[in-house]
Symmetry: C2
DNA sequence: ATCATATGGGTAAACGATTACCTAGTTAAA
DNA sequence: TTTAACTAGGTAATCGTTTACCCATATGAT
């Protein structure tokens, strides 16, 4: 079923059908309008958006590249993006990069071939210089900022401030030996959180101690391993975690060692992913407005696509959520 | 940059460029091949897949419609799908239906307009009759089976068997008063799990008691509310939960009531979502091969797209994972 | 010497929409 | 009565590929 066949059935030209279907029916009589619409309905005609896209040079589709939808943080981002996109009439193509630059580049290439109107990228750890250059598709960097001078939008959170507040919170609760477990800081957000941690302890006159730092990945396993390592090598009464998954792993390790949380060791996370509140003890954490970040990314991207004036960087605030783990 | 411009730069016709780019270069000299490829590289030419799709009538894209990517179960499904799709050269468009038939129908319409090669649907609770009829896009029903006679593929798990095993496990552990909390059973999978539960207790001579049943949603809240309700109205020493989220809510409620899990009340979940093992106590559950289900859905779908012979229904097995909650 | 086949490419018609421009009749204004 | 403007459509080029054919020339077989 094509628009031509519909046109034939209705005894009009395909132009007329097209105009009716697109609401450009100012100069179409109500009679033919109804007739055409009825035939469209009766025949179950489905417009071919591919053909349309080819002509109008817009696919009403955006691509998102994230490390892994199974990670609660990214799935919430994805959800925020999809919801906002749907409201604006866009579909979203989902790509999981597994934090691998190769997959990331491959996906960005494919997305451009598919002529997406824009791309939202939560970058893997290293910069993706090649595919990002000579790109003409609008792009937003979400959460993970990478240093490229290119013309991209950015949605980030004040990571340093968040970690600073987290650490201060632990200090105020009486902690004197605070560990820091996070992703290794070639990635910018983790680096900023580390800075916030350091700033807080130094300000309060606590000595910085390399042995209290464990940097690996943003995973539960890292939290577990990191805590076990810190426990062996040094004395701690508080752990500032780079994200909630790490905090979950940390608590698991502490429990196994029969160390009471929060009495003996206090733990604070970062992100406030959905399950955090259901952990035992419920996680105290620095809440990122994850869903909202996704939404903001879409808003900025669509504004760029529509060639509106926009501020190319938006920094969102974090918020400390006190629960049971500290 | 179009193929024609590349052709002009290389002093060949666009047909030649197209053939080279698509590996149909049997009758192209190595010299021109190299020359064209170099120009393509130098100019950063990106093929327009939209134009290609229009011509070859295939978009190498599939659509997935799930209730909510933020739900761990569905995000794992989505990941399984995306990974398998990528291996087969397909991209995936992600749609969240929020369990609403209206959104579901809207998305299915859009996906068809975008000429996806196939659709994977985890249906919302009620049947989506209208948009599923007169469809000519291949479709797989994943996890949630709905009764349509139409020509669709199906990937399901043996839900009845899983719940049967779960309940039997609780009985073998000594439970005599087993509650059942799940989604209300207009949706088929929950209905089957309920049947498995009932079958198990009746077989062991335990009387069926309506008061021990609480059916609402597949959410943490339902688990919490359901447990509180059962605790008030009746006596229980075991809870068979329709999924892990419910189990998480149940444990939360039991802890609040200072009831020890698993000593006083044993809890078993269903799904084995990622975080289950990190709960306290770690969840005993009926593991569904979630990721694999996503993969299988893609395999079946691609087989249908490529017009291969396939069995239109695949039933996967569950497995009991014993952890700390029972 | 002739014919068949392999080699290296080019021409142009699709694919299914959109839309700038055209036509022709009707109304209204001058 | 002429003309401008509005109404209700139609024509056909175009978007960027792919691919069924077509056309040479070269090579080999008979």
């Amino acid at each position: 079923m094509t628009i031509k066949e519909i046109a034939k059935l209705a005894n009009v030209s395909s132009a007329t059908v097209s105009k009716i279907l697109n609401g450009k029916d100012q100069y179409i009589s109500e009679a033919t309008r109804q007739r055409v619409l009825e035939i469209v309905e009766r025949e179950g005609y489905i417009p071919n958006a591919i053909a349309k896209s080819l002509k109008i040079k817009s696919t009403k589709t955006i691509g998102i590249v994230i490390p892994d939808v199974m990670n609660l943080f990214f799935s919430e981002l994805a959800r925020g993006i999809e919801d906002a996109a749907e409201k604006k009439g866009y579909s979203v193509i989902l790509c999981n990069s597994d934090n691998k630059e190769s997959k990331e580049e491959k996906y960005i290439q494919i997305l451009q071939e598919k002529m997406v109107d824009g791309i939202i990228l939560t970058a893997s750890e290293r910069s993706v210089s090649k595919s990002l250059k000579r790109r003409n598709t609008p792009m937003i960097l979400l959460d993970r900022d990478i240093s490229i001078d290119d013309n991209v939008g950015r949605i980030v959170v004040d990571n340093e401030d968040g970690a600073y507040n987290a650490t201060n919170f632990l200090i105020d609760k009486g902690c004197k030996n605070i560990g820091f477990i996070s992703s290794d800081n070639i990635n910018k957000s983790s680096g900023e959180r580390f800075k916030g941690y350091k700033k807080a302890i130094l300000e309060k006159g606590i000595e910085y101690d390399d042995e209290k730092i464990f940097l690996q990945n943003y995973t539960i396993e890292t939290g577990y391993k990191g805590t076990m390592t810190l426990l062996e090598e040094t004395k701690i009464d508080g752990i500032c975690c780079g994200n909630d998954l790490i905090a979950i792993g940390a608590i698991k390790a502490l429990k196994e060692k029969d160390i009471d949380v929060p009495r003996e060791v206090k733990v604070i996370g970062f992100d406030d992913i959905q399950v955090s509140q259901y952990m035992d003890p419920p996680l105290t954490t620095i809440k990122q407005p994850i869903y909202e970040m996704g939404e903001e990314a879409v808003k900025m991207l669509v504004a760029i696509i529509e060639r509106k004036e926009v501020n190319m960087v938006k920094v969102l605030k974090t918020e400390l959520i006190e629960r049971g783990s500290s």
